[in-house]
Amino acid sequence: MGDLMSWLLSFFFHGSLVGLIGYQLMCLADLEFDYMNPYDSSSRINRVILPEFIIQGVLCLIHLVTGHWFMFLVSLPYLYYNVRLYMRRQHLLDVTEIFNQLNREKQLRIFKLVHLIVLLTTSIFWMIWSIGGI
């Protein structure tokens, strides 16, 4: 039962992370197609960046605490990357250079998204598995 709970938790956390990254990507796309100005776009994105980092950190912690070593290891690079960005104070989008960084930032987020979706599916799988195991 505990296992199921932890997988459920991981599922929701992953889901919310996917949502946050998707939202950032949407803002970037809006910016690119000129539906939004750089000020709005960057402030919207910057608003959700810290929550994203925190959720991801908590998720890693949950994996660690519940003993899902594999999931923890897989999310570790992501965590490391986030922490490094944060330590260098480069985690927020720079509104003045946003257009020059647009492509890079988009690719980065797409990469994150793919990574998260893979993790999301694994956690769904394990969730169903543990339901079956009850």
């Binding site: 910016l31 690119e32 000129d34 100005n37 750089p38 000020y39 104070r89 720079d94 509104v95 003045t96 946003i98 257009f99 020059n100 647009l102």
Partner: protein, 1052 residues
């Protein structure tokens, strides 16, 4: 290259003398122009095989030369050429030269080249037919009006040797006659190497369709012939005296053998460039060839470099604006508004990837129009501005009217638009509107439309000047405050906008002082806010006042400002909070914020700390962080300022570190400018500050502007470089813009293949004029699409390329080490030349020569100068961090012309002019920037557009010094300032300075006087800026060329 030569094996032998014997042959490689040559060649080149050899030696010798030269470099004292050693090269080389001496003059080479060109042609069976028609030969020349082809075999020693033999042959006409007969034998022998030839040709041909105008000029026959060959033929044909016109067309043109050459006008340009050399000057440019070349081998056994340093190309006539473009499309806007790095737009992705130089444009939308011209203002009033429905292009000279005048086709997206009733006009027989002459927008490349209310989001703003002035101790003490107050006061009458102009002031030290200037007051009221954490504006309305209403209050304020803070002993600077306060006051209207900053911000937000002192940071990965704003506050502030249409100009004065990198960010993203006066002292820098500030205040300014550049389908602008902020992917927000700001952009191809013949560019700047009118300035230009890399090179514009290079390199210093930025410039240069070499080297078998397109002959020099420019040079010790950053910010905005002048300043000898009563100022000519140009008996002016350095030679006649400096002539020159004395000479000098200053009014060139041998000032002001010299471990010009050449040849 070398490999191609059949003779190569023999090459190791390279006895020094032998090549010379071979004389004619060395040149052979150049012969590439082949077709023509073929016939001739037979006659005069007995030993075809030997030719390659001759060339080879030079190649091989190259490396050897390097070390020698270095050792050979004159020591500093020796650098100044005494009168006794006028010509450097000759002095150096004497022993070895013995045999050659007659030939040493560069010119000879040229002659040599002409003949050589022929051999190659022979090789090609295909050629002969087109070539043969004698008539055809001449026409081809005219074909390529631009000087692309001229080869610059400058003063290469080997060539010179050839000259002798050649002369014998010289009468080229004769050769022609032998032409047909001789040709057959040759062909077989050459065929193998040239196998690649046809392929190249194929590429070239397609390019023609793009150049309608050119073709029209060309003689009818010309079109049939392939371009490369044509030119070559032309060159060849030119040899006969009859062909003179073609030569004219090509400045770089071909120079016939010495005897013949004299008549030709071609030389003139080259000669002027190298005043030092004898008349025949090395610039032998063969029309024959499609490129310029430079021999870089050394004369065997000589100590000197293989390069005749006098023969290297130099921009001694300043920037030459490209005009081939304008000739082809006469309705294009003037090149001072828009310059493309190459006017031949590549038609495919693969072509783009082979063009290693930047592909893009430099735009200066408000450049001062050329003399006697004005940008016409068009008011459509009721009609509304005519624009394409789909792509929003403005109506321009390239749109076509159809359907009896009822429709027009957009030239950019080719959509058919309806012509509104008010704008309708009938068409004449050839489809032109009959009212064309009354429609400037249909005949001029640059027009200004008056924008109706749809183009306004708010009523046009008034011109607004807001001053944020540091009044801390150092500001007062340096005299800055006084000069600023006086200057502003004297400019009040000339501020643009007449009665609408608004003005306001804030001063700050550790507190912020606001001034109530309400018109009903007799004296300004000062309000002090000392709560820096929570800034508020004490009086929302009267801090910003209408100048004409509150004129007397403003004047009173400015008069009393210096005395008000006379005794201020405050050392702190609450810059950040003051900036925020200014922002709050201005945010309603926008406008221009002039910041006078003297002390490193130390209180409140935006505090900065000393950095850049750490020598160890240089060369590490953290180095670039020094050139970035330290505190995100500045970037955020800059973004907010732009959003509210506020442009920031920074005037920084400190004698200590003030973190220009951070402060400059404010200017960078708001379309502003950084003025840096290190160690400002009013007695010395007063004039400069006064001039630059008053220009800043009084020049015509466009307010709350946005700029967009549109271009035809398939092409897209991808990145923008300069001082502005991007508001969307292709919209530049410019809160204020004026004639001194230029912007660069790079473009890319969106489609793999362009199907159109022409690409159109349209720059549109929507702005509010100072008179309160909303206007749109539109510049339109067309450029042909080409399918051939050679054509792209031919159409290249060095100025624009350098400008983009410079901006890219400076941007690179913000994320990489200085060295990386310099290397990237060099790498691109090498790649580009390598590609060019691959294009021609094979067919022309150029052995040890460096070849480059005529259009880019100055590129290596400018690239070298760029690497030595303040933002990029050396490391920690070579320039102060602040100076580096300030220069970087400045160079990011400079228009092409001024940038080129900064990179390669002019050095002019004036003592003779001063002494001769009848001399005309026009006779002053620029000298190469080498220490050898400095004669210790002379007086020189060095002018980089930002300052003058007047250099007094050690042996300058005391009379001159006395006349110019009066009693101070023997004093320490660092303390002497130049002013007019009551004598002819002094007046003349001041006249020259005045003339120079007027030619470039955007900055004030302060005069620095330097005496020869007066270290360290001499080194700092002048010697470090002689870009052609080796300075502190950097390359000299000749070494640089050698280095580039060697790199080009690696894996060539």
């Amino acid at each position: 290259m070398g490999t191609e030569n059949p003779n190569r094996p023999s090459f190791p032998a390279r006895p020094a003398a032998t090549p010379f014997a071979a004389g004619p042959q060395p040149t052979m490689p150049f012969l590439s122009s082949g077709p023509v040559v073929g016939s001739q060649a037979s006659g005069f080149r007995p030993t075809p095989s030997s030719t390659p050899q001759a060339a080879m030696p030079f190649l091989s010798s190259g490396p050897v030369v390097g070390p020698e030269t270095s050792g050979f470099r004159p020591t500093p004292p020796g650098r100044f050429s005494d009168p006794s050693l006028p010509s450097v090269p000759s002095a150096n080389a004497p022993p070895t030269l013995g045999p050659f001496q007659r030939f040493t003059t560069p010119q000879n080479p040229s002659t040599a080249q002409a003949p050589p060109a022929r051999p190659l042609p022979v090789g090609q069976p295909v050629f002969p037919p087109p070539v043969q028609p004698p008539a055809g030969q001449v026409p081809p020349v005219s074909f390529r009006p631009q000087s692309q082809l001229p080869s610059v075999p400058m003063g290469s020693p080997p060539q010179s040797m050839n000259s002798a033999p050649l002369r014998a042959n010289a009468p080229q006409p004769l050769l022609d006659s032998s032409f047909s007969a001789s040709r057959p034998p040759f062909q077989p022998s050459f065929l193998p190497p040239e196998s690649t030839y046809p392929a190249a040709r194929a590429n070239l041909q397609p390019s023609f369709p793009g150049y309608p105008s050119k073709q029209s000029n060309a003689v009818p026959q010309a079109p049939a012939v392939q371009s490369p060959f044509l030119t070559q033929q032309g060159g060849y044909a030119a040899a006969p005296p009859t062909s003179s016109p073609p030569f004219l067309a090509q400045p770089g043109g071909y120079i016939p053998p010495p005897p013949v050459a004299a008549p030709l006008g071609l030389h003139s340009r080259e000669q002027m460039q190298h005043p030092g050399t004898g008349p025949p000057i090395g610039a032998v440019q063969g029309l024959i060839e499609d490129f310029s070349s430079l021999s870089v081998g050394s004369v065997p056994g000589s100590i000197d470099l293989g390069i005749d340093s006098k023969a290297l190309p130099r921009p001694l006539e300043g920037d030459v604006e490209p005009n081939s473009f304008a000739e082809m499309y006469p309705m294009n806007c003037h090149s001072r508004y828009l310059r493309l790095t190459t006017s031949g737009i590549p038609n495919s992705q693969s072509l783009v990837s082979r063009w290693h130089l930047p592909l893009g444009a430099v735009v200066c939308p408000l450049a001062v129009p050329p003399d006697g011209e004005e940008v016409p203002i068009v008011n459509f009033a009721a009609t509304g501005i005519i624009r394409c429905r789909r792509c929003r292009t403005y109506v321009n000279p390239y749109v076509t009217f159809t359907d009896g005048g009822r429709k027009w086709r957009c030239n950019i997206c080719s959509l058919l638009n309806d012509v509104s009733g008010d704008y309708f006009s009938h068409l004449d027989a050839i489809g032109r509107r009959i009212d064309l002459d009354q429609r400037p927008e249909l005949i001029k490349g640059s027009v200004e439309f008056v924008a109706p209310t749809e183009y306004m989001v708010r009523p046009p703003m008034p011109p607004l000047y807001f001053f944020l002035i540091d009044v801390s101790l150092s500001a007062v003490r340096s005299g800055m405050l006084e000069v600023v107050a006086q200057t502003i006061r004297s400019c009040l009458d000339e501020l643009p906008g007449s009665t609408r102009t608004q003005i306001g002031f804030i001063t700050f030290d550790s507190t912020i002082h606001f001034y109530n200037m309400k018109s009903s007051l007799t004296q300004p009221q000062m309000m002090v806010v000392s709560d820096l954490d929570d800034i508020f504006v004490p009086l929302p309305d009267d801090l910003l006042v209408n100048l004409s209403e509150s004129r007397s209050v403003v004047e009173t304020f400015l008069d009393s400002l210096p005395s008000m803070f006379q005794d201020n002993v405050n050392l702190e600077s609450a810059f950040g909070p003051a900036l925020k306060a200014a922002f709050m006051v201005m945010s309603q209207l926008g406008g221009k914020l002039l910041i006078f900053q003297n002390t490193l911000p130390s209180l409140g937000v935006g505090r900065l700390k000393l950095r850049g002192d750490d020598l160890r940071v240089y060369g590490t990965d953290k180095e670039h962080a020094l050139r970035l704003p330290e505190d995100p506050f500045y970037k955020q502030m800059a973004a907010d300022l732009t959003k509210y249409q506020i442009a920031v100009n920074i005037y920084a004065f400190s004698d200590k570190y003030t973190d220009i990198a951070s402060l400059g960010t404010l200017a960078k993203y708001t379309g502003g400018q950084v003025y840096y006066y290190p160690s400002f002292l009013s007695i010395i820098h007063k004039d400069r500050l006064r001039h630059e500030l008053s220009r800043d205040l009084t020049r015509e300014t466009a307010w709350e502007a946005v700029m967009r550049i549109r271009c035809g389908k398939g092409v897209r602008f991808t990145s923008y470089h300069g001082n502005f902020m991007l508001r969307s992917t292709d919209l530049l927000a410019l809160p204020a813009v004026d004639c001194d700001k230029a912007f660069a952009m790079q473009l890319c191809l969106e489609e793999t293949l362009l199907t159109t013949q022409t690409v159109y560019f349209q720059v549109a700047l929507l702005y509010t004029s100072s008179s309160g009118e909303r206007r749109i300035r539109v510049h339109t230009a067309a450029a042909p699409v080409v399918a051939d890399l050679g054509e792209m090179y031919r159409q290249a514009d060095t100025g624009a390329v350098v400008s983009l290079f410079c901006r890219l390199a400076i941007e690179k210093t913000l994320s990489h080490k200085l060295e990386d930025a310099r290397n990237s410039v060099q790498l691109r240069l090498v790649k580009a030349f390598k590609e060019y070499r691959n294009l021609y080297a094979v067919q022309h078998r150029l052995g040890g020569r460096m070849i480059y397109p005529e259009s880019l002959k100055l590129l290596p020099l400018y690239a070298l100068a760029l690497c030595k420019s303040t933002p990029l040079r050396g490391g920690y010790a070579d320039a102060q961090l602040d100076e580096r950053c300030a220069a970087g910010y400045t160079m990011m905005t400079l228009p092409v012309k001024r940038l080129l002048k900064l990179l390669y300043p002019s050095l002019i000898r004036i003592d003779e002019y001063l002494l001769k009563p009848t001399a005309q100022a026009d006779e002053l000519k620029r000298l190469p920037l080498v220490a050898e140009s400095l004669d210790s008996r002379g007086l020189y002016i060095y002018d980089d557009g930002f300052r003058f350095v007047i250099w007094f030679g050690r042996m300058l006649s005391p009379e001159i010094a006395m006349n110019l400096l009066g009693q101070d002539f023997a004093a320490d020159l660092s303390k002497v300032s130049l002013y007019e004395h009551d004598n002819e000479m002094s007046r003349k000098l001041m006249g020259i300075l005045k003339k120079f200053r007027e030619s470039d009014p955007s900055y004030y060139q302060l005069c620095h006087l330097v005496r020869q041998g007066e270290q360290p000032r001499e080194g700092f002001f002048l010697l470090a800026n002689l870009v052609e010299d080796q300075i502190g471990g950097t390359n000299g010009y000749a070494d640089w060329i050698l280095q580039i050449h060697r790199q080009v040849q690696q894996n060539a």
